[in-house]
Symmetry: C2
Subunit: 369 residues, 2 copies
Amino acid sequence: MTFDQLETPVPLVDLDVMARNLDAMQAYATSHALSLRPHTKTHKSVFVGGEQMRRGAAGLTCATPHEATVMQQVTDDVLVAYPVIGHAKLERLFLLRDDVALRVQLDSAHAIDELAAAAVRHDRAVAVTVEFDAGMHRVGVPSLDDAIALARHVRANPPLEFSGIAFYPGHIREPVTSQDAALERLRHKVVEAVEAFTQAGLPPQVVSGGSTPTMWRSHEITGVTEIRPGTYVYNDRTTAEIGVCRWADCAFTVLATVVSTSVPGQAVIDAGAKALGREPIRGATGEGWGALVDRPEVTVSRMSEEHGILDLSGSDWRPQVGEQVRVVPNHVCIVTHLNDVIFGVRGGEVVTSWPVDARGRGYGQLIGV
Amino acid sequence: MTFDQLETPVPLVDLDVMARNLDAMQAYATSHALSLRPHTKTHKSVFVGGEQMRRGAAGLTCATPHEATVMQQVTDDVLVAYPVIGHAKLERLFLLRDDVALRVQLDSAHAIDELAAAAVRHDRAVAVTVEFDAGMHRVGVPSLDDAIALARHVRANPPLEFSGIAFYPGHIREPVTSQDAALERLRHKVVEAVEAFTQAGLPPQVVSGGSTPTMWRSHEITGVTEIRPGTYVYNDRTTAEIGVCRWADCAFTVLATVVSTSVPGQAVIDAGAKALGREPIRGATGEGWGALVDRPEVTVSRMSEEHGILDLSGSDWRPQVGEQVRVVPNHVCIVTHLNDVIFGVRGGEVVTSWPVDARGRGYGQLIGV
């Protein structure tokens, strides 16, 4: 099948580039004796999760119970790296097969109490990692004393089991070559946390951390045992701009068609915010909402829901209506979430496809209109 | 069913508010003898499209052939207000039942040629409206002479039928009370276009235009015969901020749960960019990515994929972990596109639900992994 047989906009993944990305991250983790637990939020796909497990991942990371119940098709070890709050979400979490090892990452006594009550109800052990704030100020307990108190609260609530600590250094957004000072501060924080927990009689078995901008430097953060990268499987314009990957490592593009050249100096494609997401590049200076894979100087400078405006001012290329282009999106995890099907390509051929199994919220049955 | 039985984040629509919005727009169109052809991109729902038709809509507007093939369940008169380019999209377009009146809005000779070839192949009449640029500089022919040439090109290519002209004044983003000058310029442009086409022997039967910010003033644009508003059915924070609706007319909210209050001065909800979209307010000054329906002073000031940070600095309200909140999103059309199911509520009760039938791209069958 050729690209021009596809109805655009449509997401394409270069299979060889994806395989190379998967191999490289597993090799990195193995060489530094780090446990690799890829975050599936990027692909939401049983097929891709299976490829990660097959290469040696220790288990998979999910953001929601829905993602976890989908990913149990290819793993028996799941981390939900998000507090599971509310009856409906907890009930879905405990739909996981009995033989799936389950860990939840959380940061409050309330989350522990709800999880413990559900674990008792379902008579099931659940490992818990306590998240501390490493500087992002999103979730995570700011004070180590409070984090230790939460760990004790977990211990006091079997069948919950305290298994360690977790953090997400999402505040480090500098390009990979400018992270030295921020990484040194982070290293200090993590060492301090491990020491404090150990002195409190709660030596963390698991120290789970890392982020996409810091992913190739995770081994420099002393004490970390596990990393949870997501974006590396596909990469995107942001990971390329901050130097975490090369442009040639961007496996994911949105195939689009030029639909109008009526207004001089621009071309309009059929990929807008509903196909590319409206995510700015963070940590680097790139303008626009995506760039053409084979002409990175041409960016999507404006968008409506179904229109993307290609800024041609930096190029002498003038596309015709009907021409197809491939856009590397700024933030691929959002684009996955917009689609139901991904097409796998090799060379100029469409050779396979797979569903975005964990897209949506799995709300289940409708109540009658 | 009560709200706390739902797994969050989840979209809710207040049925009474939606019904009032539907009634008001139909009453406006009827009272000004404008043909109402609601844009279904906002709801992508057969149920809501049916409610629009039942109240007197002349037909429905779609952005894609996929949306059109879904909406033919409730209408026999469809406008695809977007150039249909490429074999796959054209083939889907001609899947429409024979008894569905079809119109396509376009702006290039290439689009006419492709559509004409497909229409011949399928032996089917297709009405065409030629889009001219009314000042937005997105799509639409800037010069009226060129637009007239396109109309002649349509006439020369049966079974295409020239039926009129169209425009989208998306550049008018001022609040409704500050639009006088922009509307006067637009009125002048439309009058000029109608006169030019008429003098050229191509009197436009249809003059299709209007936008959400200008929707209640469409009758001031002399010559307009048809309006295609979308957002009015649900409304959102943007339409409220620019004065096109009242806050109480926002029918659509995202129900979310507070999952963390670890970091002082904020609360974190489980609705982030994957639930709310990352759409700024345009045409007004509101900060953030959404606001609480019952506390509009509390906004979602930052987001990650599954985290929304509530800025509590303008409020003395301090929510607890586990508490549910309802967020009015900035741009509801994007939020619809993120969801598969909408829940209809009345008072504090969930009383119905409906699928987002035309979500996704309808790629159809997978080719084997």
